[in-house]
């Protein structure tokens, strides 16, 4: 093993294992220091490959650094730092530990130069992120975490099948740009897309993330979907299909967020919406578009974490998460309100915020390619972002009717986390070159032209007007919205319950007829049957998957 360099991902994974042994100030210092070390190490690393490990007949490359991977490692380290700052005094050790391993997994995926190590860290992310969800330790988080991991393991199996077939066909394990033209690459693409929150299995995101603790969601929002964006940027740039998938996700996110009552679920839907913009950029595939997608991933991680920190502060101080229970918090939580509004302006790409300098690159790319319809849809979507995240979130949480709640602003470290990210959102908006110089391609784009500022303000402010004109139509109700998860949360349980019902009936008849054969010992009660049927089903699944992968080879 030749590994002379400090691997930021492994550093975070190892420190995640140590966090549980630390307490109080030591833990605080540790969780703040480690992400800074990771950031320093990646900026002191030369571009190129390093850290190769022999595994079976393959040589794995754990570090392959270029401008794109450095961009993602940078934003991941900053997010771990700020997320830790936000919750270093409040979060449980196991949550922080899981979050560190999760972030380390994400960084290792970004640095991986080959498909095998990519897959290993991909799965580590799935496991660690489930632990982040479970550390909320509520019944809802347990159930949502279980649904979450099943979906992600399914994605992992699809990805594994794709990788095996791809390696078998090409003989190379290197992770380079691919074309979706064989079953192998299609499976890889599907595995990547599942983590990006693409249809049809979009529902896992809004189902699971809002069930994590007030701080867990901040970490969750940053890594899984954005790692998927990274691997798509690297593996499938210019794949036209991604434009249409992206557009679907953009409008799906807006519409479902408009229907939603849970403040953090609104923000979860808006993650899908924002990832949609990035996929559009990847699909368009020009240098401007790819730069735009990468830049948008960077700024999005920061303002979405900021929004979720402000929602997390509200949850932490009030214990409430539904818009119908909240409102009027501006009166007692000024810092949280201001930070939440800055995040909301940034996600809406208001001039002078980070979203303005990143999202407009994707829109500009569609103009450069003369894609009128895609441009129109992206513009409508920008208006819609302001509608569902830019105004709806702050309006229903901090303003609207007075709920009578008068919580204080959260503890100092939580405020500092929010203020730090709010400042970054504005800094990147005012000095876009701070972001542009890190991008993979040279940037030949000026966001601040008078025409661009005026048209963007028109678009956004008039959608704001539409919000207040249409407010009666958006009265909050105590409801949830059905989604694809209905199939595995409602339909399958109903069918299987019926099935068990028949089995129990059958068992009774069976017992009467063969009571002397002592077979009933094995079919003693309903639980036993459920267990064995469940095991049988999973065995069938495993056999099916294995035979599928054999068939592919």
């Amino acid at each position: 093993m030749t590994c002379s360099l400090f691997h930021p991902g492994l550093l975070l994974i190892l420190s995640g294992l140590l966090i549980s042994f630390l307490h109080g100030t030591k833990r605080t210092v540790f969780v703040l220091l480690i992400p800074c070390l990771a950031l320093a190490s990646v900026w002191n690393m030369p571009f190129g490959s390093a850290c190769s490990v022999q595994y079976l007949d393959y040589e794995l490359t754990l570090i392959k650094l270029d401008a794109l991977s450095r961009l993602f490692i940078t934003v991941f380290s900053i997010t771990v730092f700020t997320g830790s700052l936000f919750c270093c005094k409040q979060a449980k050790s196991k949550e922080l530990a899981a979050a560190f391993i999760y972030a380390g997994g994400a960084m290792s995926v970004v640095l991986a130069g080959d498909l095998i190590s990519l897959f290993v860290f991909w799965e580590l992310m799935a496991l660690a992120s489930t632990l982040v969800i479970w550390s909320a330790q509520t019944t809802n988080s347990q159930r949502a975490g279980m649904r979450y991991i099943v979906i992600h393991l399914l994605g992992g199996v699809i990805l594994m099948c794709g990788i095996t077939a791809h390696v078998n066909a090409t003989g190379s394990i290197l992770f380079t740009a691919m074309q979706a033209d064989s079953i192998a690459t299609w499976l890889i693409l599907c595995g990547f897309l599942l983590n990006a929150g693409a249809p049809p299995l979009t529902a896992w995101l809004a189902d699971a993330y809002p069930e994590a603790s007030f701080s867990g969601t901040v970490f969750l929002s940053a890594f899984t979907t954005k790692t998927a964006v990274y691997v798509l940027l690297r593996g499938f740039p210019g794949t036209e299909l991604l434009v249409y998938i992206g557009l679907f996700m953009i409008f799906y996110g807006i519409i479902y967020a408009l229907l939603e009552n849970d403040m953090r679920r609104i923000l979860a839907y808006s993650i899908i919406n924002q990832v949609g913009f990035m996929l559009c950029g990847i699909g368009i595939g020009t240098e401007m578009a790819l730069n735009g997608a990468a830049a948008h991933a960077f700024t999005h991680i920061i303002y979405k974490a900021l929004l979720l920190m402000s929602a997390g502060s509200v949850l932490y101080m009030t214990g409430k998460r539904k818009c119908t229970d909240l409102g009027g918090l501006v009166q007692s939580m000024p810092v949280t309100t201001v930070c939440g509004i800055i995040g909301a302006l940034a996600i809406s790409s208001f001039p002078l915020t980070s979203g303005f300098v990143s999202k407009s690159m994707v829109t500009q790319a569609s103009v450069d390619e003369h894609l009128l319809w895609i441009w129109l849809l992206l513009q409508a979507a920008s208006a819609g972002v302001f509608l569902h995240a830019g105004i709806k979130f702050p309006w229903f949480v901090f303003f609207q009717k007075d709920s009578g709640l008068r919580p204080d602003d959260p503890p100092l470290n939580m405020q500092m986390g929010m203020i730090f990210f709010a400042v970054i959102c504005v800094l990147l908006g005012v000095f876009p070159n701070m972001l542009y110089f890190m991008l993979p391609y040279d940037v030949n784009y000026e966001p601040y032209t008078a025409a661009h500022v005026v048209t963007q303000l028109q678009l956004l402010l008039f959608s704001g007007l539409a919000f207040f004109v249409m407010l009666p139509l958006m009265k909050r109700t105590l409801t949830l919205s059905l989604d694809f998860d209905w199939f595995y949360r409602k339909l399958v349980p109903v069918i299987s319950n019926q099935l068990f019902h028949y089995l129990v009936q059958f068992e009774k008849v069976f017992k009467q007829g063969f009571s002397d054969l002592k077979l009933s010992h094995y079919l003693d009660n309903k639980l036993n049957i459920q267990l064995s049927v469940g095991m049988g089903m999973s065995m069938i699944m495993v056999v099916f998957v294995i035979s599928l992968s054999y068939l592919l080879l």
Partner: protein, 79 residues
């Protein structure tokens, strides 16, 4: 208890007036500032304002209609 500035009748009125002035200014600015429309449709006066407003109206109405189909009580899955 002292009423917060945001919840006073007078300040809500002021906010509306301020908002309308700003909205008008962004449209009037189009006369002074030369835009560089790339697509023909962009050349329409105050295109972005109209497009932003009406696309939001369409999205809100669509969400409302879809709501009739997909909305359930929020304890739907707990039962």
């Amino acid at each position: 208890m002292k009423q917060n500035w945001f919840y006073k009748e007078t300040s809500i009125k002021k906010l509306w007036i301020g908002a309308i002035v700003i909205l008008a200014l962004t449209v009037i600015a189009e006369i002074v500032i030369v835009l560089h429309p790339h697509f023909k449709i962009e050349a329409l006066f105050s295109f972005h304002a109209l497009f932003g407003f009406f696309s939001c109206v369409v999205m809100v109405v669509f969400a409302k209609l879809l709501g009739f189909l997909v909305k359930r009580k929020d304890d739907y899955y707990d039962l």
